[in-house]
């Protein structure tokens, strides 16, 4: 049972709206996003239900959902949404809010996805682009599954899919500066 009416203001809705730039109140629950979404079958709450949960201010339940972590940001949903809600950005906003409020899902898949996101961002931050070999290695170490997908490595190497050299953009320093500035902005907000 969901208890409603204790608070007049729906702070969660306000936060998601502010961060996503969309107004979730516009959602009229048609479900087009759900049938469009290639991964909605794997989500515990499809996008339409996430919208309604935000409307009802169900913060904890929303944070514990895997939906926003499974979202591929392919934007098929927002391309078809009749209310022009930017659903991938809403998903992103919920991801950010969950991280900001330090809510950690105990779903192992979500944990892996979070680690993947973190490594990826780290890679960009330091080298300006993704270095796949290192990314894979680091992911396997951090998820404690050293030999994951190892059998694919020889084949991929032969086909030149995994460059051995360390790739780096020329002005990695500039990118690092961008990250620092972004972090600063985040703090002052």
């Amino acid at each position: 049972m969901i208890a409603l009416g204790q608070q007049i203001e729906n702070k969660f809705l306000t936060a998601v709206n502010r961060k996503s730039g969309s107004n979730i109140l516009e959602c009229y629950q048609c479900g087009k996003c759900v049938s469009t979404c290639p991964v909605s079958d794997f989500m515990d709450f499809p996008p339409r239900e996430i919208m309604q949960m935000v409307k009802l201010g169900m913060k904890e339940e929303t944070y514990m959902a895997n939906s926003m972590w499974f979202c591929l940001t392919c934007a098929a949903c927002s391309g078809r949404c009749p209310r022009e809600i930017d659903i991938p950005r809403v998903m992103e906003a919920i991801r950010h809010l969950a991280i900001e409020e330090n809510v950690n899902s105990d779903n192992p898949k979500v944990k892996q996805i979070r680690i993947f996101h973190e490594i990826f961002l780290d890679m960009i931050k330091h080298y300006g682009r993704n270095y796949e070999l290192r990314m894979m290695a680091e992911f396997n170490i951090r998820t404690r599954n050293l030999f994951k997908d190892m059998h694919l490595a020889p084949k991929a190497l032969l086909k030149g899919k995994i460059p051995l050299g360390h790739e780096k953009v020329k002005s990695a320093k500039a990118i690092q500066r961008m990250f620092r500035m972004a972090e600063k902005l985040e703090k002052t907000k």
């Binding site: 969901i2 409603l4 009416g5 107004n23 516009e26 949960m53």
Partner: protein
């Protein structure tokens, strides 16, 4: 010698697929009197009608038989084709081989073909005895009666009166205005209801062609289209409206307090009262049920304070009669009583109100000065739960139909609540949002986005009390979970229900009504304004739930119908009515008793043969007779015959098969 032309229609595939039309034509040609028989794809089309016209002239036909669909469909069309060819239109006979043959015998083509031939043979035999008939002219009283002074009645009265046709507007309560006067703002534009209604009310009162009879009821209607006679009871108001200035001294001093119906009983009015400040006419009436002077003969304060001496405790109900030609019924609606909803605690919890009560509270001229309050403690509510479909779409406890306006006014109420109580929140339990109308969907979206109201898809299942709050339980089907809302105030969107006296009124007017009490239109699609009785029209919620734009549109439509009816000095009427042959009439008056239209009276005529005495015979009022034939059947001496369906014609038909 009769020369009959037979035209057999394929009606596309409707007849052609199930009846062997060419064989039917061949069969028709065998009949002695048939000089011309032909088939055609669509006889009702222009080339089809041209065939009839040409054949009449070229074949010198004396009567025409069209074998096609029901005469209800195209009899008029073919009659016109006959008169265009210079033939009396009543020399037409229609053999209904579609509804009576092809449609009902789709599995047996042979039988359908045989039956079609039989029907044609009968029609041919009947047509031989057809006589030339001529339309009857009936005088028309050009005055309309409008029953009900809500927005529909007001609009109908104004539109008819603007066409310079006198109107009698009868309203049962002391003021016109109806339900719309009780509303605060109206969807989807949020115009103030009073601001758009009261000018119209004033127009009604000052219109030279409108006679306004407030505090009155129609008690009898006699006659027929164009010539009705209405008896109207003017209830005793105990106030002389001619001298009363509406100053208000009487109701200020009156000591008796009664729940105020206009404000849904939220506050009190006096026993002498005018329903609301903008009332038209703005004259008070005395409520005889509560006035102590009228009950016990003590008090009389109002008479003492009235400077004009307008109070008259001896006033009696008065019956006035008006001759009218047409009636517009616009009696409006009542709210459905939600008492069966025990799970909501209706009647047990004070803080559950209906939408009209909420409307009065948020109304600027309402009893709480435009702020909603909890009836239990007078506090301003923060969390307000609106429950839609209370009674509507509920076969078990309420009624099956959708009340049409609740989705919209609930959306409006969330906006009004948001405007009046800034830090409030609305929760709406709904089943579907039915916002079909110009600007309606946009309005609902506006309400949802602007107020942030939480829309929960599902019927609330129960309400219980927790402290001074009401806990409303329901499912939100959008996430498939049960929700419980802590509410300060619950507003029930109770269904629109027909005005409770509708069945009585329908019987009085001789029109029909449905199982709920809504008055029935003649055809749900093509004659939505007319009733089955000629000259009586319907406007507004008396026919079905409607919003203001629809009611106004229908009211204007009735005005067009009334004006059309009154366009000439006389009305044309079908000549197929009963006639009495005085030679045979014995004056038994059986026909007088069976006539459902009270069209037969008796008259005295000389006995003849040199006798001075008089004898009684039946006399049929041409204007009233509808040609039903009841009198023909009951007449012992076969003195009555029905034009177009004479005994001779019917015997011919029977002999033909």
């Amino acid at each position: 010698m009769a020369r009959v032309g037979v035209f057999v229609c394929f009606c596309g595939a409707n007849i052609g697929d199930f009846v062997d039309v060419p064989a039917v034509v061949e069969e028709a040609k065998k009949i002695k009197e048939v000089k011309y028989a032909i088939d055609y794809k669509y006889v009702c089309s222009d080339p089809g009608q041209q065939m009839i016209r040409d054949a009449i002239v070229q074949q010198r036909l004396t009567s025409v038989v069209v074998a096609a669909c029901s005469p209800r469909m195209h009899e008029k069309t073919f009659r016109k084709a006959l008169s265009d060819a210079g033939m009396n239109p009543y020399l037409l006979e229609v053999a209904n081989i579609r509804e009576h043959s092809s449609w009902v015998h789709q599995k047996n083509k042979k039988a359908a073909t045989g039956k079609s031939s039989d029907l044609i043979r009968m029609a041919v035999a009947k047509s031989i005895a057809n006589e030339q008939l001529h339309e009857i002219s009936v005088p028309v009283t050009k005055r309309a009666l409008v029953i009900g002074g809500g927005i529909a009645g007001i609009q109908a009265a104004l539109d008819i009166a603007d066409a310079r046709i006198p109107v009698v507007l009868v309203e049962k309560s002391p003021s016109i205005g109806g339900k719309m006067a009780q509303l605060d703002e109206t969807f989807p534009t949020l115009d103030c209801s009073q601001c758009i209604l009261t000018p119209k009310m004033v127009d009604v009162a000052s219109h030279p062609f409108i006679e306004l009879l407030p505090y009155s009821e129609v008690i009898e209607l006699d006659g027929y289209v164009g010539n009705y006679k209405a008896k109207i009871k003017r209830k005793a108001s105990y106030v002389n409206f001619d001298t009363c200035t509406g100053c208000g001294a009487c109701w200020l001093k009156c000591p008796v307090k009664v729940p105020n119906e206009f404000n849904m009983g939220i506050d009190k009015r006096k026993a002498i009262y005018s329903p609301f400040p903008q009332a038209v006419p703005n004259k008070p009436v005395i409520d005889a049920e509560h006035c102590t002077m009228l009950i016990k003969g003590k008090c009389g304060i109002c008479a003492k304070v009235c400077e004009k001496g307008s109070i008259d405790y001896t006033m009696q109900d008065e019956i006035v009669e008006r001759e009218i030609g047409a009636v517009v019924v616009a009696t409006g609606y009542d709210l459905w009583d939600p008492k069966p909803y025990e799970e909501y605690g209706v009647g047990r919890f004070k803080d559950i109100i209906n939408s009209l009560e909420f409307e009065r509270m948020v109304s600027a001229n309402g009893p709480t000065g435009g702020v909603p309050v909890r009836p239990s403690d007078g506090k301003v509510p923060k969390n307000v739960v609106f429950i839609q479909c209370v009674g509507s779409r509920d076969e078990a406890k309420g009624i099956e139909y959708c009340s049409k306006i609740c989705c919209m006014y609930t959306a409006k109420h969330t906006l009004l609540l948001h405007h009046k109580v800034q830090d409030s929140h609305a929760y709406v339990f709904y089943m579907d949002i039915r916002a079909a109308g110009k600007g309606y969907e946009e309005f609902v979206k506006r309400a949802q986005v602007e107020t942030g109201a939480t829309y929960l898809r599902g019927r609330a299942s129960k309400i219980y009390k927790k402290g001074d709050k009401l806990m409303v339980q329901g499912e939100d089907a959008q996430i498939g979970q049960v929700v419980e809302v802590e509410a300060d105030l619950v507003v029930l969107a109770t269904a629109i229900y027909p005005y409770k006296d509708n069945p009585d009124l329908a019987r009085l007017l001789g029109i029909s009504y449905d199982k709920y009490g809504f008055l029935s239109e003649a055809h749900p699609k093509l004659r939505p304004v007319e009733t089955a009785k000629a000259g009586i029209f319907l406007a507004g919620c008396t026919q079905a739930p409607k919003d203001i734009p629809d009611s106004v549109a229908q009211a204007s439509a009735t005005a067009a119908k009334v004006c059309g009816l009154f366009a000439g000095d006389t009305m044309k009427k079908d000549p197929m009515i009963a006639h009495v042959n005085n030679e045979f009439c014995t004056g038994c008056q059986n026909c007088v008793n069976v006539c459902p239209y009270q069209a037969i009276v008796t008259e005295e005529i000389p006995l003849g043969y040199g006798f001075k005495e008089l004898r009684t015979v039946a006399k049929i009022n041409e204007g009233v007779c509808q040609g039903c034939g009841s009198c023909v059947a009951i007449c012992r001496s076969m003195a009555i015959d029905l034009a177009g369906f004479t005994d001779m014609q019917i015997i011919n038909e029977i002999v033909a098969i």
